[in-house]
Each structure stands twice: as structure tokens, then as C-alpha cells.
């Protein structure tokens, strides 16, 4: 599908499929077109070209059947401030023919203690959980989560993740957008990275961008009185030295690490800061999107 505003192309031909029961995560810098893409799928915006099917429905048609089966957590979206948590969950639940019992949903997002508090008196994190409750109360098959944990403290994020994971276990399909890589890593079955209105990479979080084919990285600090030449010639595809920090790139991390640590023990030297890592999703993401690349400013900003 495509979306343009006048001459500006916000979405330049994006194509993907999400399987039922899958957690699909759309990643990308601000202005990459994530929200536009999601809002087209949710039926809030009309695509300029292309074909879209959500659970078999065309979201542009705004069919009630689709809205029965879809739960939406928007990025910033108010609620009726003067109603309580309980009233709101019950009210939104009524709109669905086969909704869940309000108290069950309130329990699921852990707002039971706040059930009689008016929405305007909730904290930011509690409001976000209320948003989730309002999306879940219709017992949807598919849930859109647009940056669901932005503004959460680390503990609240872990809590939200476990709620989302429990939704997966119920067989829900989840369409997630986020700019937290750890969130994508923890939750997603498949990720797609957007940039400048296009999907530039897609795949499992462990394979995307050839992540699984990248060499592992062994890092340590070069001990004093030793030089790089003293380090044994372990199987590697390259080395990098910055000040006293050494990085060895290797496709045989077990052998390389074994040889390095054996050498260190034999010579009684301490390899400080020793670590073996695979490139993280974040490393791949930054490579793909070109970190610090400022030219690709928010399309929304350009339009407004």
C-alpha cells in the first residue's frame, strides 16, 4: 500500500503479511511511517493506493464486524475523564456483542484497586493500562498496540510485557509498534524495520538483517604489559582495538573464548571486562536505519 499527502509520499509501497496468533512488530525511527501504516490498518486513515485486508476486511470500509474483532491502543488518546475505570471498561465493553466481563479485564491489567477512580485521577502508567483494558474488553482477535510502553518505568514495562505475552498465549494476534529494541526482542515473533516510508528489512528478531550470520564479538581489556601480538591467534574474522579495549569478531565463539581464557589462565593475567555477545537487535537496527541520520525528518512535520 501507499499513502501520499500531496506530493509527499509518507508510505512508499509497503507490503507485508501477519499470520494469526503472531506478534508482529513494526520498528523504525520517528517519522518513518509506522503510525501512518498502523492507522491505515486500523481504518483511521485512507490509503492512497494498494490493497489492505485485516482479518479479511478492508479497513477503509469501516465495517462494524472488523471493529468487533479488533482492539486498538492508540498512541495518545483521551478517555471520558469524569468516568471511573470500572464505568469506562463496562461502557466500552457494551459496544461489543461478545465482550469480556469488565472486572476480569480490569484484573488482567492490574487496575482492580483503581476501579472506582476517575480516569482524570490516574497516573500515566495507569492510564496506559486503562487504554489496554479498553482495547481488550471486546475480546478481540487482533490487537494493535502503538508504542504501548512509552513513558513507562522499567518495572512497569516488564509488567506490560508479561500482560502482552499472556495475550499471545490466548492466541491473539498482536501488531506492535515500538522504538524499544528490547521490547521487540522480548515480544515479537517477527519484526519489520521501516525507514522513509518503506520496509527495509523484515524477519525474526534473531535473524533480521542477517543477525544470525554475523560473527560473535569477544571483548576484553588488554592487560597492562601485554601487547596485541601476545594474544593467541584465535579463529576470527577480524579484530578491532580501541585504546586498551579489544574486540575479536569470530564465527567460532566457543573455541575462540576457550583459547583466550586458557591463555589468560596459563599466563595468570586477568582479561578484564571479558564478554561474548552476538550483535543485538539494536545494533542491527541502528545499522539498517543509519543512526544519527537527520535528513529523514518526520514526514508528518513536513506535511503540517
Amino acid at each position: 500500500m501507499r499513502k501520499s499527502y500531496g506530493d509527499v509520499e509518507a508510505i512508499r509501497g509497503v507490503s507485508f503479511e501477519v499470520a494469526r496468533g503472531e506478534v508482529f512488530c513494526l520498528l523504525g525511527p520517528n517519522g518513518a511511517g509506522k503510525t501512518t501504516t498502523v492507522e491505515i490498518l486500523e481504518g483511521y486513515r485512507l490509503r492512497s493506493a494498494g490493497g489492505v485486508r485485516v482479518l479479511g476486511y478492508d479497513p477503509a470500509a469501516g465495517e462494524r464486524e472488523m471493529r468487533e474483532a479488533v482492539g486498538i491502543v492508540l498512541q495518545q488518546c483521551g478517555v471520558q475523564q469524569d468516568l471511573t475505570v470500572r464505568e469506562l471498561v463496562e461502557m466500552y465493553g457494551r459496544y461489543h456483542e461478545h465482550g469480556l466481563p469488565p472486572d476480569e479485564v480490569i484484573g488482567l491489567v492490574e487496575l482492580t484497586e483503581k476501579r472506582d477512580v476517575r480516569a482524570k485521577n490516574l497516573s500515566g502508567g495507569q492510564r496506559r493500562r486503562l487504554d489496554l483494558a479498553l482495547a481488550l474488553v471486546g475480546d478481540p482477535e487482533l490487537i494493535f498496540l502503538d508504542e504501548p510502553t512509552t513513558g513507562f518505568d522499567p518495572a512497569a514495562r516488564r509488567q506490560a510485557w508479561s500482560t502482552i505475552k499472556s495475550l499471545c498465549e490466548l492466541g491473539k494476534t498482536i501488531f506492535l509498534t515500538t522504538h524499544f529494541m528490547d521490547e521487540a526482542q522480548a515480544l515479537a515473533d517477527r519484526v519489520a524495520v521501516m525507514r522513509g516510508g518503506e520496509i527495509i528489512a523484515a524477519g525474526g528478531p534473531d535473524e533480521i538483517g542477517g543477525r544470525n550470520l554475523r560473527p560473535a564479538e569477544i571483548r576484553f581489556a588488554l592487560p597492562a604489559n601485554w601487547s596485541l601480538g601476545d594474544i593467541p591467534d584465535v579463529p576470527s574474522v577480524g579484530r578491532e582495538v580501541q585504546a586498551d579495549r579489544v574486540t575479536v569478531f569470530t564465527r567460532e565463539p566457543v573455541i575462540a573464548a576457550h583459547e583466550l581464557t586458557t591463555w589468560a589462565l596459563y599466563h595468570d593475567v586477568e582479561l578484564a571486562h571479558f564478554s561474548v555477545t552476538q550483535p543485538t537487535l539494536e545494533d542491527i537496527y541502528l545499522e539498517l536505519t543509519g543512526s544519527g541520520d537527520q535528513h529523514d525528518m518526520s514526514i508528518e512535520e513536513v506535511v503540517r
Binding site: E39, E42, G43, Y44, R45, L46, R64, R67, E68, V70, I72, L74, Q76, C77, G78, V79, Q80, Q81, D82, L83, E87, M91, Y92, R94, Y95, H96, E97, R118, L134, G138, V303, R304
Partner: protein, 267 residues
């Protein structure tokens, strides 16, 4: 009756009913809005009633000021609880994304709008009963049976005009903060040239023409005629009703235009 309606429609009407209850709860809990739209007209009623106690209006055959003022305040109360309330609250619903959120639910848009209107009608009913009740008890205003149908028809048509306009003008409100200012900037001056607070019978022609174009004067005048002790007959004022009818058409048009917009596309 219920056999005529399909089960789906009956369910939707039930949703309208329950939504009206939630709308009512939200309205009365929001003290600021309740005072601004419901209590303010009643406060004016008490203040002006005390100020002009015992006065008569010479340009209107010496009728008691109360007989003029109570229906005038009723007109203002209707406008405050419909146009003013709806324009402000709908702008808030739009700006806070609540309309967008509602659009994402299976609740049909017509049902939501019907509930908003239904809730507004309850509030109008409330302000009518309180104003006329206070008028009858405290200010001795008589509601004659002969003009009662005219009173109700004028009220109904005025409510229709100002309710639809209230939702319809939301699209001219740049944001929720500006909405009360803009609405009052339009409505308050109109009330001064529309015989709400005092009779404007000897007003300069130019101002009188302006007042005649807008529905504020038509509503006030229609209600004042219905409660004027000098009125003989049914008390229907054709040109007032015609003005209100035309504004209702305009209001429905604006409301439908506002509601047709895809809410996510607003910027």
C-alpha cells in the same frame, strides 16, 4: 412496537440508552461545565429577577418584567445547554482523541451521536422545568394552557436548531481552549440585541436586522410571546418558527458534514 424492530436495531437502541446514561453521568460530574451551562442561566434568573422586581415594560403594554424575563432566560438556558455545551464538549472530545477512540469501537457513529443528543435533550428538559418552575413559584409567571402547545413547539424547534448547530460548529473551533471564547463571542452579543436581558423594541434598525437573522431572537421572542399575558390565541409566531426551522436545516447540514469526516485524518 418491539416486534417491528429487528433484533440488531433493538440492541443498538439499547446501546443508545445506556450511552445516554454514561453521557449524563459525565456531564453532571464535570462541575465546571455544569455550572457554566446549567447554573449560570439560573443565576441570571435570580439576579435579574431581584434587580427588576416589580418593574413593568412600557413598550410591551406594561406587562411585568418577570413575564418577559423568565422566557428570555429559558431561551438563554436552552442555548447554553445545547449550543454552548455541545460546541465546547465536542471540541474537547475531538482534541483529546475520544471521538477517534469511539470510531475504533463497534458502536455505530449514529448511535453515539444519538446518545449525545439524547443526553442534551434531558439537560434541556431539566433547565426548562427548573426555569419555568422557578418562574411560576417565585416570579408568578403564568403558563396559559392556550399557548402551551406554542411554548413546547418553539422550545422543540429551538432545541433542534441549537443542538445540531452545537455539534456542527465544532469544525470551526480550532481547538478546545478556543471553543468557549469563540462561542461566547458570538452568543453573548447576540443575546444583548435579542431581547433576552431587556426588551430591544426601540433598537436601531441595523441591529434589529442582525438580530432577526439569527435564531437567538427567534427563540426568545417565540417563548416570550407564549408567556405574554397579552397574547390571545395559540401564540404561535410564524416567522420565529420559520427562522428556527431554517437554522435547524443549517444545523443538520453542518452536523452531518462534521460527522462525515474521517476523524483520523484531522490535523
Amino acid at each position: 412496537m418491539s416486534t417491528v424492530l429487528s433484533p440488531a436495531l433493538r440492541r443498538d437502541l439499547g446501546l443508545v440508552g445506556s450511552q445516554i446514561r454514561y453521557e449524563q453521568r459525565a456531564y453532571w460530574r464535570n462541575r465546571g461545565r455544569g455550572i457554566f451551562t446549567f447554573a449560570l442561566p439560573l443565576m441570571f434568573l435570580v439576579i435579574f429577577g431581584a434587580l427588576d422586581k416589580g418593574n413593568t415594560i412600557s413598550t410591551r403594554g406594561g406587562i411585568p418584567y418577570d413575564d418577559f424575563f423568565v422566557p428570555g432566560i429559558l431561551a438563554y438556558g436552552v442555548i447554553a445547554t445545547t449550543l454552548v455545551n455541545l460546541a465546547i464538549s465536542t471540541a474537547i472530545l475531538r482534541d483529546e482523541g475520544i471521538l477517534k477512540r469511539m470510531q475504533g469501537t463497534p458502536l455505530p457513529r449514529w448511535a453515539y451521536v444519538a446518545a449525545r443528543i439524547g443526553s442534551t435533550l434531558l439537560i434541556v428538559g431539566g433547565i426548562t422545568v427548573v426555569t419555568l418552575g422557578l418562574g411560576a413559584i417565585a416570579y408568578g409567571v403564568d403558563i396559559p394552557a392556550s399557548t402551551f402547545p406554542a411554548l413546547i413547539v418553539t422550545l422543540a424547534l429551538g432545541t433542534a436548531a441549537f443542538t445540531t448547530l452545537g455539534i456542527g460548529v465544532t469544525r470551526f473551533m480550532p481547538n478546545a481552549e478556543a471553543a468557549p471564547v469563540i462561542i461566547n463571542l458570538i452568543i453573548l452579543p447576540l443575546t444583548f440585541i435579542s431581547s433576552i436581558w431587556f426588551p430591544t423594541d426601540g433598537m436601531p434598525k441595523g441591529l434589529a436586522h442582525i438580530a432577526d437573522v439569527f435564531p437567538v431572537k427567534a427563540l426568545a421572542d417565540g417563548l416570550q410571546t407564549a408567556l405574554d399575558p397579552r397574547t390571545v390565541g395559540s401564540g404561535f409566531v410564524a416567522h420565529d418558527l420559520a427562522t428556527l426551522a431554517i437554522w435547524t436545516v443549517a444545523g443538520v447540514y453542518l452536523m452531518l458534514r462534521f460527522l462525515r469526516r474521517p476523524l483520523g485524518e484531522t490535523a
